[in-house]
Symmetry: C2
Subunit: 206 residues, 2 copies
DNA sequence: TTCACATTGTGAAAAAATTAACATTTTTCT
DNA sequence: AGAAAAATGTTAATTTTTTCACAATGTGAA
């Protein structure tokens, strides 16, 4: 397989989650248009994405749920699993560790960091909280590859620098402030205010 | 102005936030490539977006920060301001109300809802928490147009229905579960797990 | 068996988004 | 004054993403 489009990767992750739910309900097969309805996209797009990863459904019965789940896993997961840390264990940081606790994913949050000494040493959903100054050591020892930033905006640049210096490979920045990282570090930024402003714009424009 | 591309809307919101910071620092003018660097995009794209909204910078000095902020406001804000509610005041709900408190935006969170009786009647960042069953009345009385969903995934469909029945115009769904709404309600869904899986994929693929 | 139907798989077209290319203009330097 | 430099504004080209259109095929009913 050559190059999966960016957007396809995102959708595969979403398909998988929908499929896991279907699997849990006992469904063995699913049609492209069923997946499509769940995700609010078109059936063609689902079929195309599935085509791109080289899977084939059985005609008239749709796709085998279990097989598709496993195949998507092979594509987007890495075999050994990836270790993740969360920097800043405020409300957002806690929400995220929450989301992940108990999920059977290949991604596991293995450390959280904070500046607040009263939080250091505690556990959050079973994950130990370290002093932010111990970051380089912890990231090295625990083989952490991805950092999720949930600190206040003003601390974002400094935290990004620390993560980079600690040898992180990918950053997911949830602070409202864009940060700069060297190009060998993969950066994804998401800003809730932008999303809300977008909804507001389209609500306004009918 | 005819039709602004979807993506342009998102970027305008981001430009504005960057510009507000620059304005606060006392900058009066800014170049397209400076904005571009902050947002990790190209200068051409910035210029193109600005062209689309019909603004012109002064050659050699760049764009007037204040004017651009105001113009973006005219485009994406609605004149009277829009009222927003947050449904589910767990960690994520609190993080979001946090983000918005004190922001001088046209979007204001005026109510939060929860099922937990012990939360009802309290205030969160100054915003009163109502019983989720009182939603229709509160949304009507307070003229709320947008709902942000931060409830557990399993409650998402029911909450979306309630919001729709209460006459909401836009929904921002932060639960991991996609919901269905009639097409006259604008729906935006965002899923943190997908984002993280995407980062993991690109980290894996160098 | 044969026909109608529902569904997949995919090349081709269309649409959307980004990038390139470059003319234009103002400022500054010589 | 004239040339060089640095920016904007915009058309055109390119790339990416989505959608269309339809052939192929298995299923079930008549």
């Amino acid at each position: 397989m050559k190059h999966l489009p960016h957007k396809t990767i995102e959708r595969l992750s979403q398909y998988r989650r929908a499929l896991l739910l279907c699997h849990a309900k006992g469904m063995t097969h699913i049609y492209s248009h069923e997946i499509a309805r769940i995700q609010h996209i078109t059936a063609v797009q689902v079929r195309r994405d599935i085509m791109l990863i080289g899977y084939s459904g059985t005609l008239r019965k749709g796709y085998n749920v279990k097989e598709l789940i496993d195949l998507i896993g092979e594509i987007i997961d890495s075999k050994e699993g990836i270790h993740v840390c969360v920097v800043g264990i405020g409300n957002l940081g806690r929400a995220i560790t929450n989301y992940f606790s108990g999920k059977r994913t290949k991604l596991s949050i293995v450390a959280v960091f904070d500046v607040d000494k009263s939080k250091v040493g505690k556990k959050y959903h079973g994950i130990p909280c370290y002093d932010i100054n111990d970051m380089p050591g912890v990231i090295r020892d625990k083989k952490i590859e991805i950092g999720i930033m949930t600190v206040p905006g003003e601390d974002a640049p400094a935290v990004a620098d620390m993560l980079v210096k600690s040898g992180i490979k990918g950053i997911l920045n949830y602070t409202p402030k864009p940060v700069n990282v060297p190009k060998e570090v993969y950066l994804e930024e998401y800003d809730m205010i932008t999303s809300l402003e977008k909804v507001a714009f389209f609500v306004k424009s009918h």
